[in-house]
Symmetry: C2
Subunit: 412 residues, 2 copies
């Protein structure tokens, strides 16, 4: 009974994901597949286009056997913490043999030795990162540069730099570092990503488009425009969600609430929130006066500088929206790892996995969130309720689905 | 150069208000009229149907010469503080000779002696109020009962009780108490209210309907339905505001932001807000799960008990929405009185008043809020920005109009 783990956002699940999923099962020969899925808010600081439940259902429809939720504390974070949280969950199940992820190159030749060096987390690496940040680099650039210098590997530093400029290489590197730190027996494997770069907004292949491109088609055109690029099950689920007023959700859905918080929150309160650093609380307030339109998009554009990536700023706005404090998201708090395995859905084979996990799991398995308490879980339930509150047609049932409904039981 | 003061909300200004205004000028023979107008949120804990600027314009169009804003700290409060704030402003101008207000009876025979007794604010009165609150009465009932007992006047207590059950008598009483406490030379006068009780939802006279009834017609039918009950100027201003996406504003406009705050705020944070008393922070959270629809109306209905009036609960939700803390709204803070005279608009005669007020006013006169600092003003600007953020078509210009535009200068 072997299981492969995947770490996904499925925003929404498209043909490229199906390709990756099938390849993962093929090259590992695994009988089971466990997906770690981000909750309502995603790594780049955006809300999912539909709820975590709908995205979990897409995964189950494709053939995933068990879907676990990546807590909000890790889901909306830079690659290091995102990877640490997600890999920790797979490791904690005690049933995952391999971790399969896509990379631009399709090889771990450079990443594996680099991860071994970086997993030690020498004070030197931190100093180098701090040095480059002071020098005016944004965080990803500073990390890549410091990693390249720390690596001191045969060949040119520029190989490392170039590799880490590709987002899936960076994520992959941090998966490997996390496996190292956890001393996990999980075997890492990679699959080359096909036909669509991460950020591509235009589809470049007949049946494959990036999730960004798919969302753009849905929001700017309609669901039909996206249908060549998504499996029938995703189409059906999206159609149902939209018809029932549960999407599409975008940053625009939170415009009113986010602006309200920025307008009514005292700067000192904003300064207590995660990622609101270096006086950004004052900059935020000042910039509000200058926006052509009071939208999240205009605000992000006004905030952007060389120093802050679009992603860092979007994540900051997510933390402001959800009231995530610096204390809740401190390195000390995050280093403790996720505190539970929250089950979003499973099929018949997933039920077998859950049965086995009763013996193997090193964290509590949460089927009913209402009967468990954990500070991270409080944040997850809060994020889900606030997310559903922004639906075109918000309902009490949607806002409190975590409390009111059992995980999705998908037919085999 | 005599001036009459009036204390108004104009939500919206209707024919009954015009009647009152004309009578006030007639019986006082005053050459000038100064209106103290509540900002964006009103005494009963509701947003104005249009902005404070539009409502100030209605007042100017009717013939008011100078419109001053009642700070949010006093505008969304029980009758005592509302009256104290508004009367303090009129008193501080140094140019107001008389205060004219409507009452159900049209006489001050009972209210004047009662006010003299109650103005002393004996500890005994506070004890009596506390006693009746503990007994399960809501605040207005407890106050009336304690006042009736404290009055010990010739005639039956029940006269006092019956009188104070009428909202304009209660407001009037507190205007008189405030004048007493301030030792103000302003002469109080009353006019009987005509043809429409405060809460009436159905118009009962061909040209007079309550503001509640007028708003209901506008929101549930359209502006045309309300046109028999409002002057042409109000009609024109409302029409312009609605066409430009600045109304109609209702509690429903704040549904998303209010629910977001309730869903993401920790109970201990909610407990720090004004009017969130006796564990209401927990009750609020529990009740959210039980709402048929997640609307403000459903929430208010679920919250209501014998102990809490609808108005107290609406005010509490306003304070939660605007983040008004218990400290900011403490009796000690409010007892200091308003800290400035904020000018919303004036006509030619109003300009003369302002000129005279340079010598007579005991508080700073604020024409440009951006060049003045006061904790109460911070709350006012915040309330106005949050209010405009809930417009059907929110703009930066509307959100920061206090900073970006001068007061309204109305042609004579």
């Amino acid at each position: 009974m072997s299981a492969v783990g995947i770490i996904v956002e499925y925003n929404p699940l498209h043909n490229g994901h199906v390709h990756h999923f099938n390849k993962a099962k093929e090259i590992t020969g695994a009988e089971h597949a466990i997906a770690v899925l981000s909750g309502p808010f995603l790594q780049r600081g955006e809300p999912g286009i539909v709820s975590k439940f709908a995205r979990a259902e897409m995964a189950l429809a494709m053939g995933a056997d068990l879907v676990l939720e990546l807590p909000a504390a890790y889901a909306v974070q830079p690659a290091e913490w995102f990877a640490f949280g997600a890999v920790s969950l797979l490791h904690a199940t005690g049933v995952v043999d391999s971790l399969c992820f896509g990379t631009e190159s399709g090889t771990l030749d450079l990443l594996l030795p680099l991860a071994r060096i970086l997993a030690e987390e020498s004070p030197e690496l931190q100093e180098r990162i701090a040095f480059h940040l002071r020098d005016g680099m944004n965080y990803p650039a500073a990390y890549s540069r410091a990693a390249a210098e720390a690596a001191n590997m045969p060949g040119d530093e520029s190989d490392v730099l170039q590799t880490l400029q590709q987002p899936n290489h960076t994520l992959g590197l941090h998966y490997l570092i996390a496996l190292n730190r956890l001393g996990s027996p999980i075997r890492p494997l990679t699959i080359p990503r096909i036909h669509a770069a991460y950020h591509d907004e235009q589809p470049s292949h007949a049946a494959i488009a990036s999730a960004t491109a798919v969302r753009k088609m849905i929001v700017e055109q309609d669901l039909a425009a996206a249908s060549p690029y998504i499996p029938e099950s995703t189409l059906r689920i999206l159609d149902r969600e939209f018809r029932e007023g549960r999407g599409p959700v975008t940053w625009n859905s939170f415009r009113g609430s986010l602006m309200h918080i920025l307008l009514t929150g005292a700067p000192q309160d904003l300064a207590g929130l995660h990622e609101v650093t270096e006086g950004l609380e004052h900059r935020l307030r000042r910039l509000l006066f200058t926006l052509k339109e009071p939208t999240v998009g205009e605000l992000l554009q006004a905030l952007k500088t060389k120093r802050y990536t679009h992603t860092k700023l979007q994540r900051m706005l997510t933390h402001i929206l959800l009231g995530h404090t610096k204390r809740e998201m401190s390195p000390e708090a995050l280093a403790q790892g996720p505190g539970y395995l929250r089950v979003l859905g499973f099929n018949g084979r997933g039920r077998q996995l859950l049965k086995r996990m009763k013996k193997t799991a090193s964290l509590p398995v949460i089927i009913k969130p209402s009967s468990f308490e954990h500070p991270q879980l409080t944040l997850d339930l809060r994020a889900s309720a606030a997310y559903a509150n922004a639906f075109p047609h918000p309902t009490t049932q949607s806002m409190f689905r975590d409390y009111l409904e059992a995980p999705i039981r998908y037919p085999e």
